[in-house]
Each structure stands twice: as C-alpha cells, then as structure tokens.
Symmetry: C2
Subunit: 505 residues, 2 copies
Amino acid sequence: MTQPQSTFQRVAEHMRDTAKLESTVALLEWDDHTYLPSGAGAYRAEQVSFLSGLIHQRRTTSELGGWLNDLATSPLAGQRETPEGAAIAGWLRDYRRQVRLPQALVEATAKATSLGQQAWVAARSADRWNDFKPHLHEILNLRRQEAELLADNGQLYDALLDQYEEGARASEITILFAELRDQLVKLLADLQARGQQPSGLSWRRSINLPLQREASPWIAALIGYSFERGRLDETAHPFCTTLGPNDCRILTRYHEDNFPSGFYSTLHEAGHGLYEQGLPSDWYGLPPGAAASLGVHESQSRLWENFIGRSEAFWRWCFPHLQNRFGSAWQELDAEQVFRDANRVEPSLIRVEADEVTYNLHILIRFELEQELITGTLQVDDAPQAWNDRYQRYLGIKPPTAREGILQDVHWSAGLFGYFPTYTLGNLYAAQLMLALQKDLGNVNELLEQGEFEGVLQWLRDKIHVHGRCVPPAELIRRTSGQPLSAEPLVAYLREKLEVAYRMV
Amino acid sequence: MTQPQSTFQRVAEHMRDTAKLESTVALLEWDDHTYLPSGAGAYRAEQVSFLSGLIHQRRTTSELGGWLNDLATSPLAGQRETPEGAAIAGWLRDYRRQVRLPQALVEATAKATSLGQQAWVAARSADRWNDFKPHLHEILNLRRQEAELLADNGQLYDALLDQYEEGARASEITILFAELRDQLVKLLADLQARGQQPSGLSWRRSINLPLQREASPWIAALIGYSFERGRLDETAHPFCTTLGPNDCRILTRYHEDNFPSGFYSTLHEAGHGLYEQGLPSDWYGLPPGAAASLGVHESQSRLWENFIGRSEAFWRWCFPHLQNRFGSAWQELDAEQVFRDANRVEPSLIRVEADEVTYNLHILIRFELEQELITGTLQVDDAPQAWNDRYQRYLGIKPPTAREGILQDVHWSAGLFGYFPTYTLGNLYAAQLMLALQKDLGNVNELLEQGEFEGVLQWLRDKIHVHGRCVPPAELIRRTSGQPLSAEPLVAYLREKLEVAYRMV
C-alpha cells in the first residue's frame, strides 16, 4: 500500500468509528421522539450533549488534521468523483468547518436543541409560545455564534445554509424563489378563475386508526422500502433517521379524520428512506455512503409523495386497494375524485398539510424570517407577529393560534436554521428528475397504473443514490436532468397536472 | 473546598460522564431487544463494542488512578457508609478490576456478546444448538480470559461471581445451596405424599393478548412502578434496564394460553424497576446511586413476584379485578383456585416458568454447569448432554429439545457467567426481608387484601433502596433482617404457604 493509501485507510477507520457515535446519537434522538418516558428528557439532553462533544473531539483532532493535510496534496485527492477523491474532499470540507467550532459551543448547542425539541413538543401541544420563546432565543444565539465563526465573507445565513446544501447561496435562492413565487401566484389565479375546485370531501372521511396503521407500511413496502433494514413508528412530527448501514427508520403520525396526513407523510418519509437504503452501504459513515445534500434528499421524498403519490396514474392503481381495505368508509368514491382531492389547492395554515402550489409559499415565509432572525433584523419577541403578517401577505390568511402559526414546525427548536429552503429546492430538483425519468423510461404512467414502482426506484438508485456524496448537489441535478436549475419544470408539471384535476382541459 | 473534596468532585464528574456512555449502551441494547430491524444486528454489535471500548478507557485512565490513589488515603475514605466513603470504596474496587482488563478484551467481549445474543434469539427460535455453539465457545473463551486476569487466588469462577455479588464465594454458596436442596426435596416429597395437587387448569385458560397487554401495566402501576420514569415493552426474554436517573424500562412477553407467564414476568421486572426507581437519583452513575448487588436486586423482584404476587391475600384482592377485566375467560373461577394454581409445584423444563420450590433446582444445575464450563472440566460440545443429565438427576425429567434445554436462557449468550446463583440468593434474601417486613408492619396480609402496596414499597425504599451501594449486600441483608444468611426462612415460608395451597392444614 502506498503512503496516501494507508493514510486514507487510517482516516476512513477514524471516520467509521466516529459514525458509530453519530449513529448512536441518532438512536438517542429517535428514542426521544418515540418511546422516551416523560420524566427522562433532561438526562437525554445530557447524553446527547456529551456524545456530541466526543464526536466533535474526534472530528477536530490535530492528528486528523495532519492526515488530511497529507491527503489533500496526494494523487488520491486529484480525482474528485472517485470514491476516494470525494471522500477526501468531503472530509476536508467538514474538518475545516468543524475545527472552527469550540467544543463548548457544540455541546451547548446539542443540549439546547435536545431540550428545545422537548419544550417545543409541550409548547405546541399546549399552544404556549411563551414556554418555547426562551429556548428559541438560546438556540438562535448559539447558531448565530456558529455562523459568525464560519462565515468568511460575513454572510451569516449562507454559512448555515451551506451545511445542508453545499454551494447554495441565499442571494441565488432569493432570485429563484421570486421567479417561482410569481409563476405560482399566476397559476393559483388561473385555477381560481377557470378551474373547478375539488371538494376535498373524500379526504375528510374518517378512517379507523388500525386501518391506517396497516395501510402505511403496506404502501411503504410496495414502493420498495425494506422493513428488514428499517421500521415505521409514530411521532409528533414525522421524520426519517439513519442509525446504521442497515437501519434507516421512518416515522409518521395518524389522525382519524385526516387520512392523507398519515398516508402522505409515510410516502414522504419512505422516499427519504429509499434514498438512505440505496446509498452504498459499504461506504457507510464516509462521504461516498452519505446523501448528496438535504435538497437532493427532499427531491426523493417529494418525488414519491407528490410526483408519484398524487398522480392520476397512481390513484387509478391505488384506489381499489385502499377502498378494499377501508370498506364502508370509502364507499361511493372513485379514483378520479380521490386524485382530484389529492390535488386541491388552497391557502392554508399548516406547511406539512399544504398543497404543492402553496407549499412553496410556506417555505418562502420561513426562508425570509430565518434570514432576518439570524442577521438580527428580526427579534425573537417579534417573530410570531412577523410570522402572522407574512401569512397574511403571501397566503391571505392569518393563524389564529401560535400552534397553527410559528409553533408548527420542529426545525428551529432543533437548531435547523438554513434548512427550510432545501424543501423548495427539493421540489425543483424533483421536477427536473421527473422529466429525465420520463425521457429514459418513457412509460412511467403505465408503470404507476400497474402499481409497478421498481423501474422508478432502480432509475433513482442508478442516477442519484449510488453516487452518495461524490457529486455536488447542483452538479448532480444538472447532469442527471441535462439542464441547470430553474423554476420552469416545476411550474410546468404543476400546471399540467392541476389543469386536469381542475377539469380545465 | 479541601483537596480531597475537590478530587472527589473531579472523580464524580468523570464517573457521571462515563455513566452517560454506559446508559447509552443500555439504550443500544434495549433497542436491540425490542425494535432493531432484523438486518441491523451486525452494526449494532459494532456500536456496542466501540462504546464499550470508550467506557473502558474512561474507567482505566491513569489520571483516574492517580485521583483514586489520593482519595484512598484521605479522610473521606474513612467512613465506609457515608455516600462519599462508599463511593470511594466502590470506585477503587471497580478500578482495580477494570485496570487489569485490556481494552481489546473488553471490546471483543462486547461484540461477541452482542452478536451472541442475536444468534441465541435465532437459534432458540429454530431449536438449533449448533448455530449457537460457536458463539458460546467464543464467549466462554473471552470470559475465561477475563477470569484468569482477575482471579488472585486461582478461583476463576469466584472472580466472575464477585462482579455480580460482592464478596460472594462459590464454596460458601455450594454449602448453602446443598442445605436448601435437601430441604426442598423433603418439602417436595411431603407435598406429593400428603398434599392435594392444584390442577393448574385455571392458569391455562386462554386470555386475549390485548387484555393481557392492559393488565400488565395496570398491576405494575398499582404496586408503584412509575410510567413517567419508565415504560413497559415486549421482548423474547423479559428484563429490566436503566437508561438514566428517570428512565428505567421493563420488558415482558405474552402468550395467549399462558397468562401467568406475562403477568408474573411483569411483576418480577416491575420489582426490579421499583428498586431502580427508588435509588437516590441525585447519585445516579455513582455507587450510592447504584444497586447493592444482583442478589439484592433479585430479592426485590422475587419479593413482588412471589412473596406478594403468589400469596393468598394478594389473590383475594386481585382476583375480582382480573375477573372483571377478562370476562367470560375467567368465569366460574374463584380466588382460592387461582391462588392454589399459582402455587402448583411440579418439576418442569423451563426455569422462568418454574414454581418457587423447583426453581432453585434449576439454578443449582446452572451453577454447577457454569463452574465446570469456566474451569474447563466441561466442554461446550458436551454441555447439552450434561444439561440433560442434570435435569434427569435433579428434576427427574429430560428436555426433549435444546430449545427447552440449554438454549432456554439468554444469560450465557450475554456472557453472564457467575450470574445465576444470584437468583437463588435473591430468593433467600427475600425470605429474610419478608420476615422483617412482617415484624415491622405487622399487618402485611391485611394490606395486600386491600390492594395497598404503598407501605411495603416504602419499607423497601427505607431499608434497601435508599442505601444504594453504600452497604455490601451480605451486610445489608444481615442488618435489615437481623440474622445471617441461611436456607431456613425461605424453606419455612414455602412450607407454610404450600401447606395451605395443598390443603394440608
């Protein structure tokens, strides 16, 4: 073995061991969101904080710095898209960021966000903004300190955003989102002027929870999510988390009077899960075994949830199966009605329940507010009012409670500032991927009408999953879709589908 | 603060941090036994092994050794039963043991036992001894290496036993168990000669699993187990585990045709849980916040499971409640019949389902076999035959399958050699504690007939739980019960109760 190769192996082993700690923290957090006894929250925060400190130590040892310095100038680093080259690039990128952060800040953030999420669950449930406010204040303060340590050019928000979406810039996103907003507002006006609004009534039929609890794993397994390498649990705010190369868990929630909530959050999280299960497991814990970015991750969840799960072809196949499961509750319905209700567009208060058009306006609001919070032009005390004002401006509605307003999302309680724009980036990416998928497979709707998902999944595996973090996100999407990122494919997809759902064609 | 005090604080902080890792390993293992996806076992073993190595490093740093040396000769160490004195004694004891063990051995044992338990679950379920044999070979080999490193005087088995029951010696236990065995064999003969054997039929009535799943948390909560600081899940082999000062979880299993199995394993594990929940939580992670020994732990679980849960007074109170819950399934039964069936004595194959008399013979068999395995006078290859021969000799029955024979217990797959005798020690301790409890409270049966368990729990809290690991186990039992350990109280208790159950009085 050459010197660079043996150094590479040494770093890889170090990183694989670090991943054992990271995946253990993921278990601590998964358990916190599922089965943790109510009295055990404070100690759980201590555990997460302590392990986060250990992880940070391992990520920033000077020994590691020395090895990475050697690798940076070695021939192995030359080829950016080989697994070795990508690993070195990813390690250097992560190391240079981590080494700027003092361990005390990392531990304090881990503890504050663990307690913050627990406080958020209680505050949201009780609709008490004031119970959560001091936590948000503390978390924001810690994340701002982090941004100040990381931001070379003074762009605090970009320093955070870059952790979730490598290479993304708020200035560019702002332009892209403005174009998207203008197009969506126009589409919304067209639907209202010329379309026939779906009633949404089929969606409000009550479905017993036991039936929903059977339908969710059924559809997740059918699209290819492996329950030998994962599981499905219930939680307050659905998410997907990876605890090992063969352990990616998804979580959903059920409401008797809101079947689509649980069904679509399952499809969404299963979409994330399929990506994680499709990453090269031999490289687990190293960049080639990791997701490209949060935006790419979201493109996978959105593709399954919306582009597939809300398509007319999907419902032609799925409807009779669910009708059979739900018996009397779904009598006198038909596939077209469910398809149309699945695509009802209407300004609403809750992001995760929003339709595909207004969803991006929810994201825009958060994107604007969190930039202002991080830069300090908006104070935490004023945030609920700013939230409500923005909802009035963009969606024409006003949240009656904090629970339906600023308390609805878990993200800020978990310290995730700079995360929200990746949701809309995911929608944009997914639209471009769907075009390429159609082009390559030709017959996607025919497959969906047969309930055949394997071809779609295999295409995603080959084009996206297998690459891990070897190709930067913007390049991965550009290369796979054959075009640079723009609002147009998403708008065209929405217009085409919604003109059918609104009986305009 | 004096010098010893500040050193004490430093060690305490070090130990509290170490406990954050230990409790995290407990979560990794709890999850392994409950919700881990089937494909994720190998990586879970890697995680447990890696964290065990970190823990071992922290337990054996030379810095810690220096601090402990200073404390050993300080005035704080002088008073053995103050929390500080007990903490120092416990730390020294643990350090001196740990420092003899190489990290590679600790990590290898953690990995082998994690994989061993997974292999045991599969082998037991499929009744395939050969699938488990290589694991047992490996685990035994590792534990023997450990014993050789720890045993000063060459008594390998004592070196392992001492980890679970401080100060216990196999030679003394052998004498005690022989006395107990003789008395129990005599009691068994008396019951068979003069008693009226309960039919056991009431116990075999089928109870729907949903009803059992409600009855178990109901009884656990009634005896005082806190679900704010714990939870109850299902697993293959019931256990109790502590994940933090306010997070002690119990696990049980249910069989539709064997209601007492789930009910009594719940009472048993809840008894363990009450002890853990009663330890001084301010001292969590330090000796004053830890259990005195496994034998004392088992005295608590047995006391609730058997001394209370199989008493006539308990069933007078409990029967109508369960009859009400179970409806038609428990029609035409009465409290006396259930009490008698709960005390049916009969040689049987499965330890955890055994009656209180023959249970100790099951333990004796394991105690003898594991001594022979550790010292090498018995080979793993010959163990199933030796197991079956011993069952023939002591219980007059022969296991038809490995599943009902040597594969029935999780312990050896988890590396727990030297653990089994603590079960019978727990029975002996519990009998002595019950005598003292009767003496202090006077009216225990009256309380049980009313379903009032608080007085009993409070007595246990005051006499046992609150002391943590401040008093060595033999001394704790001697002091609380006012007499040294002997077989007599357990035999007298069994004879008195069984003569009623067998209608001999």
